[in-house]
Symmetry: C2
Subunit: 340 residues, 2 copies
DNA sequence: CTGAAAGCGCTTACAG
DNA sequence: CTGAAAGCGCTTACAG
């Protein structure tokens, strides 16, 4: 081997052929004689040769690089979705180019960088803030898939962008029906932060779900956005209303945890006196016996990657499709029939 | 703008200068007149221009790309470490090129690809299997940092590789001293899978820590590697020994969870009759009041990235350094003084 | 301080 | 089925 690292030219010399032919073998093109192909492949394996990402990328050819853009990894949500993406991308022999931008302007800039091409084959945007829809999708954009986010309308080219979202409506119906079936009549929803789409949806679907039942009273309480806030606000609610409602429907498991702690502090039995439900199904939920909605974070990542590959595999397909994932209700012990 | 995407040549034309000068401005080189620099920078901002990763990479210049190689994301461990890496890399304006290889041969192949250059500036290897040390580090390798893994010796060039590991010895001493201080005399360690370095270390340090105390009996039980297995094995232990020991020291929180469930199933009070400790400090630990060792996964990622940048910032520095992270003991309610 | 030229390692038409 | 040539977008000496 010469001093420089192995490249198509060196490989061509060793195989007594041209770099064009080596390139053809590399990309599994059909028009190569079996003998030549075998000779080149043997050398590729012998030297564990991998074509340069940069050389290939510069020509505009596919690099197997999939862009992943997230707001941040704090939540654990992005990390779980990433696991799903990894599973699918790894299966295809691809690589992930990950960027994270908490700030929406940076996020948009990175999205544009991915979409403009010359970097990744396609990209997955994890939970972008809604401000992104004020920007336009360009006709020549690389395929992009939205994860945990859905374009609000067809405008600005967003109509042809694929997306993976969760079916909050059906899940919330399941929660409410289950609670009503268990005898609960006064339901209180501790909603999530108002700038989160899921929070808006769950809040709306909670009211709608309850309205389908006669004699059921539904209320929404804002501000309980974390475990700590939920603890305080649950106590406050109980003090103000002279006791708990029949059920607290928490925006997520952390909020439910805060509620459970508040109820425990006041010696109010769950589910004896009040039912509590969560959302997400994090590890502690199963430990605490929390009835909750299972959020399939890993599957969201997998589906997003599959959606992206659908478009990558068929370049004529210019339009992505929306995928709506069902979320199963996990009935555990915090939602038994109240004894009053 | 012409049809093709903006590049150094277009930018040079617009700025009435040459692509060499544009390149100098891009890389913040000193030898550019203030006027020219300002003119170029204005255009860069105006068009939100980002130099091509591929063009830059092909010349061998730094791309800001940091390679991350993991065995898999299943554990959640890699995901948390990744969060730390992201925090640090994002701060430096870099990007992550992530690959995951459950199989050791693939892992080694990817490591070599990163190390050979022409792809990333440097790489972080998360928890590689020990078989990797059978391979040699080459003199011209790009900087690499080991995370949650330490070279067993100086051989094959591994002596100059930086690493981030956790101080299992001190942490295990803390656990054992705490339990003995609480009155426990018979300690049982439910160890982790034998091919995990941390499992080997904790097992060994558990025995050593106990041996420092007179009258303390320490045992190791194998096979309890998951919550489910721990449940079964804890029950089995109790049946065989006519009751629990004074303390179960679990390899991690999931194992501790299995133990707690087994004790609950048998109606054995914790900490009244037996103490239980975990390791990792996952969310459920604080909920369950589990006394545990806090594993700073995010910090491990941050430290690994910092270590890597130390070498990247100073190319003369050919040798990385080892970092040993302390793990605080979180005393909660599962380790109170046993009442016997 | 500036610019022209070479070259990084590939792929892509094109000609045979 | 094969190869010579051009070119992707940068950076790096080199000459001025």
């Amino acid at each position: 081997m010469s001093g420089k690292s192995l490249n198509v030219i060196e490989l061509a010399k060793l195989a007594h052929t041209s770099k064009s032919t080596v390139s053809r073998v590399l990309r599994n093109e059909p028009d190569v004689s079996p003998k030549t192909r075998a000779r080149v492949q043997r050398l590729i394996r012998k030297y564990d040769y991998h074509p340069s990402l940069f050389g290939r990328g510069l020509t505009g050819a596919s690099t197997g690089l999939i862009g992943v853009l997230g707001r941040w990894m704090e939540s654990g949500f992005a990390a779980e979705v990433l696991r799903g993406i990894v599973a699918e991308v790894e299966r295809r022999g691809g690589h992930l180019l990950c960027s994270f931008a908490p700030n929406i302007d940076d996020y948009v800039s990175m999205w544009r960088k991915f979409a403009a091409g010359g970097q990744v084959d396609g990209a997955i945007l994890i939970a972008p803030a809604n401000e992104i829809f004020a920007h336009s999708v360009k006709p020549g954009d690389r395929p992009v898939v939205l994860c945990a986010c859905k374009p609000p309308d067809e405008k600005r080219g967003w109509g042809k962008i694929g997306s993976v979202t969760i079916d909050n409506r059906t899940a919330m119906n399941d929660v409410v029906d289950h609670l009503v079936g268990a005898g609960c009549r006064r339901l209180v929803h501790l909603s999530g932060a108002p700038d989160i789409l899921d929070a808006q949806e769950r809040r709306r679907f909670f009211m709608k779900a309850a309205a389908r039942h006669r004699g059921v009273k539904a209320d929404v309480v804002q501000g309980a956005w974390t475990r700590e806030l939920a603890y305080t606000i649950a106590l406050e609610y109980i003090n103000t209303h002279g006791g708990p409602p029949d059920a607290f429907v928490a925006f997520n498991d952390s909020v439910a945890l805060g509620v459970l702690e508040a109820l425990q502090a006041r010696g109010i039995p769950v589910p004896g006196k009040v039912a509590v439900t969560g959302w997400d199904d994090i590890l502690f939920a199963s430990y605490a016996g929390l009835t909750t909605i299972h959020l399939p974070m890993i599957r969201m990542g997998e589906e997003a990657a599959r959606l992206l590959y659908e478009q990558l595999d068929d370049p004529r397909r210019k339009v992505g499709r929306p995928v709506l994932l069902k979320m199963p209700l996990k009935v555990r012990s915090t939602s038994g029939r109240p004894r009053k």
